[in-house]
């Protein structure tokens, strides 16, 4: 209780409440996350339950157009699934993959950055060179290539079955250098401080110094890049799904819904692709804006300018 009151009075909350942009994007994000994770409760239909889907209901327009059906607020897709429900479930898949990929890349990046920064020497030089080279290839390229390779290795059917963990691995692996470099940079700065020296003098093991003493002091920049990384991971997932290297249409994410709808845009069924598209853009935009605010808040260097 004490902690909560302290938090409410903190400068963090104060400056958050003063910034309408941050408030708005946070609100937007909170609503999207809540409705997507509450999809089984909120959604009017279950897109995974094939017994409720009727192919006769396919390609119905949203409620405010002609020939619509009162059951389907945002219309239906080519298989007769309710757009609204499918989008809610799809957004849940997208967010889950985004969070999973960021957790994986944060774990890999923090581990590599911490060890490389603390140990230094050849080991550090090699790992950072590796990170540089991988970054220079751009994360999208790496993700697309690994997606293609996994699909070639597993075959289309198995790949679709394992799509969620595979996408988490692919996107997580494609973006670890971001974390490694951020963590390493702050480890190098922290390493020289007295408290690390003191810990070393009283004979703590290097592992303990790294994880218990240095790591907590490097977490601020990690937090800052994490928001943007989640947005990036969701974008990567959508891109991979769009070119057919991601989630199958039977278990749609926002990206594969857009892909599925794209085939019907020429027949005038714009809603199948546009609604998931708008949801994706709003999701990414609100995460990015929130990330921008967080960066400005946590990075005191910017106040000087």
């Amino acid at each position: 209780m004490q902690g909560w009151r302290g938090f409410r009075k903190s400068y963090f909350v104060y400056s958050f409440l003063r910034d309408p942009m941050a408030m708005g994007s946070f609100l937007c994000l909170a609503i999207l996350v809540m409705v997507s994770f509450g999809a089984p409760l909120i959604a009017p239909h279950d897109p995974y339950d094939s017994s409720t889907i009727d192919i006769m209901d396919s390609e119905m327009p949203p409620l405010w157009l002609d020939q619509s059906d009162a059951r389907f607020l945002l219309g239906t897709d080519s298989q007769g699934r309710d757009m609204l429900s499918t989008m809610l479930y799809g957004m849940r898949v997208s967010i889950l993959i985004g969070l999973g990929a960021v957790a994986l890349q944060a774990f890999m990046g923090i581990f590599v950055g911490l060890v490389a920064g603390y140990r230094g020497g050849r080991f550090d030089a090699f790992l950072m060179r590796l990170a540089d080279v991988q970054l220079s290839f751009s994360t999208y390229m790496v993700a697309i290539f690994f997606g293609a390779l996994f699909q070639a290795a597993f075959g289309m059917g198995r790949y679709e079955q394992l799509a969620v963990p595979l996408l988490v691995i692919i996107i997580g692996f494609a973006e670890w250098p971001q974390y490694a470099r951020t963590v390493r940079a702050s480890v190098l700065a922290e390493k020289k401080k007295e408290y690390v020296e003191a810990a070393r003098v009283i004979g703590l093991s290097p592992g303990r110094i790294m994880w218990r003493h240095i790591l907590p002091n490097t977490l601020t920049p990690v937090l800052v890049i994490s928001t943007v990384q989640v947005a990036n991971a969701i974008m990567s997932e959508a891109a991979l799904s769009f070119i057919g290297l991601g989630m199958p249409v039977t278990r749609p994410s926002l990206g594969s819904l857009i892909k599925a709808g794209f085939d019907y845009i020429f027949s005038g069924s714009w809603w199948i692709t546009l609604f998931p598209g708008v949801a994706l853009v709003v999701l990414i935009l609100s995460i990015n804006l929130l990330g921008d605010w967080l960066r400005d808040f946590l990075n005191p260097k910017l106040y000087k300018a």
Partner: protein, 325 residues
């Protein structure tokens, strides 16, 4: 400089070796080369003999060495689907991609420089704020969605522009099929180029704006202004010229992003370039074409990055000692 040169080239060779190793491992683990050349009627004994003759029982590293030697001579294996050398297939698709990339670069250069400079000079003007706002939104919209929206508005809705393919082509010398010389070909280029530049433009506008803002703070700009030079000359000759170096370096490094977004754009517009070919190869499980593309793009990429680094090292001596960034 010589040491720097050697270091960068060694690194480039090492990266290429790693890429070829990855490519070769995939080739080894996925496809069986014997199945490509023999039919069902070939007996097991004959197969074994052939396997021995082709050196498929040799140690992994020896086979990798052979793969490398062939790759250096431009032989990246045959595509299963096209039944032609993979490199030939890739090079045949290259003109389409290059034309798309060239028109996009043209758009990016023509738009990002004036907008970037303007936003740096008048950061508070409403038009500058508008551009910056649009660029945040532009970064947040995935390129395939921009492409779909463009198609929906300009092809399906208004019917002004074609939505897929390259249109009428003219064959130039050396078999280069170009869409630049027919009005139909040019029309087909418009939407893909806009879609692709929608993702590259914000990046460059922000970059030019940031660099330009920094340069405008320096003393020599103040001095040039105090001397009474024309404002336009101060901006372009004294200011903008000095932002070029970082812009070109960062731009060179964006090549990977550009290639990735080309894949997406080509998929949407069914543009018959290297990116669409790659995705088709993935769909057809044409492993040897996938590997060839990986090695080809990797080589292209490593070459460009190394050259950019070397040029940068040549111009900025600090880099040679400290390493990049």
């Amino acid at each position: 400089m010589f040491a720097f040169f050697i270091r960068r080239v060694t690194q480039a060779v090492f990266v290429m070796l790693v890429i070829s190793l990855i490519g070769f491992t995939i080739k080894q683990s996925v496809g069986d080369p014997l199945r490509e050349i023999t039919g069902i009627s070939v007996s097991a004994a004959e197969r074994d003999a052939l396997r021995e003759k082709l050196g498929l029982n040799d140690p992994f590293l020896l086979q990798w060495g052979r793969f490398l030697a062939r790759a250096l001579q431009g032989d990246l294996g045959n595509s299963f689907y096209f039944k032609r050398p993979a490199l030939q297939v890739i090079l045949g698709k290259a003109p389409a991609t290059l034309e798309l990339v060239f028109s996009t670069s043209l758009l990016v250069v023509l738009l990002s420089i004036p907008i970037g400079i303007y936003a740096a000079v008048r950061p508070r003007a409403w038009l500058a704020r508008f551009f910056m706002g649009v660029s945040i939104v532009g970064v947040s919209i995935p390129v395939f969605l921009t492409a779909i929206l463009l198609i929906y508005v300009f092809s399906v809705g208004l019917g002004w522009l074609p939505s897929f393919g390259r249109g009428e082509l003219v064959t130039l010398f050396g078999g280069w099929q170009s869409g630049y010389f027919t009005s139909d070909g040019l029309k087909h280029l418009i939407l893909p180029s806009i879609a692709l530049s929608s993702i590259m433009l914000p990046l460059f506008i922000r970059l030019i704006r940031a660099e330009m803002k920094e340069v405008l703070e320096t003393d020599y700009i103040k001095y040039a202004r105090a001397k009474g030079l024309k404002p336009g000359r101060v901006l372009l000759v004294h200011g903008f010229k000095n932002t070029l170096l970082p812009v070109i370096t960062v731009g060179g490094v964006q090549l990977g992003t550009l290639i990735a977004f080309t894949i997406l754009t080509e998929t949407v517009f069914q543009w018959q370039g290297m990116g669409a070919m790659f995705i088709e190869a993935v769909d057809r499980a044409d492993t040897s074409l996938i590997v060839a593309y990986l090695v080809f793009v990797g080589a292209l990429f490593v070459t460009v990055n190394t050259v950019v680094d070397l040029v940068y090292g040549l111009v900025n001596p600090m880099i040679r000692i400290a390493g990049r960034r």
